[in-house]
Subunit: 151 residues, 2 copies
């Protein structure tokens, strides 16, 4: 298990291969983001995008899957606190393959709860052409191994 | 259709009833956020949450469904640009009913593309007890009715 004390600011990791299919784009969008450029290929062709594109929230969810499987599983995680500066930079389309790059940019102890700390990670999601399609900074909560220490 | 010129800063709207079920929480999490406190009732009871809770990305997706159905459908929308200051404030659990409050807090024309403008909305997602469970500011792109005008 990786605790707050084990996290080092500056650490980077790169991982993942998420294959994006048309059926998954449409299925997610029909449930959570039923705008025509996410659900209907013909309407999407007439839209500003010119083709079917994934819901931005779907792209975020796909990045979370890669994070959980490759990065967060070892953490003594206590859930997410929030996200800042999330930007959908390029459309994600059927056939894309997504990967993730993480960088620990800050950590600090909770002032109200000695059992937890906060860790900020910069996340970049790229497609197979190395274009950044999504970026954000996520703040996660993680258990401290030694709640009483000053570390 | 509602265009950039039709949007007024300061406008607020409240809408929606999204009933959150255990099966949907687990289904979303198994696909996109397979952490035990989102997928396994027994493991969740042992976690910092003490019960099964929705993935934060699931809560965001549910808020998007309410936004599309009640608010964005009339817009000449061109997709989302990004999100700032997203905060998961309270857990979302099976049986909750979510609603959304929106407020237009800023708008501005694109400097690079005369066909579009940007609109910032503050979003608050509340449960049946009026607790804010999620808040964020989302920036959307929207068509201008009169691309050449100075409005």
């Amino acid at each position: 298990m990786r605790y707050y004390e084990d996290i080092e600011v500056g650490t980077t990791e790169e991982f993942g291969e998420y294959h994006v299919t048309k059926s998954e784009i449409v299925e997610f969008a029909e449930r959570y983001d039923p705008q025509p450029f996410h659900t209907d290929e013909e309407a999407a062709a007439e839209s500003a995008f010119g083709e079917l594109v994934a819901s931005g929230w779907h792209t975020a969810a796909m990045s979370m899957r890669l994070l959980v499987e490759n990065y967060l599983r070892e953490n003594a995680g206590m859930g997410g606190r929030g996200v800042d500066e999330l930007r959908w930079r390029q459309p994600v389309t059927p056939g894309d393959t997504l990967s993730v790059r993480t960088e620990v940019v800050d950590k600090r102890r909770s002032e109200s709860d000695p059992r937890r700390g906060y860790v900020d990670n910069d996340i970049e999601v790229r497609n197979q052409n190395d274009d950044v399609v999504l970026s954000y900074t996520v703040t996660g909560m993680i258990e401290r191994r030694n709640p009483g220490s000053s570390e």
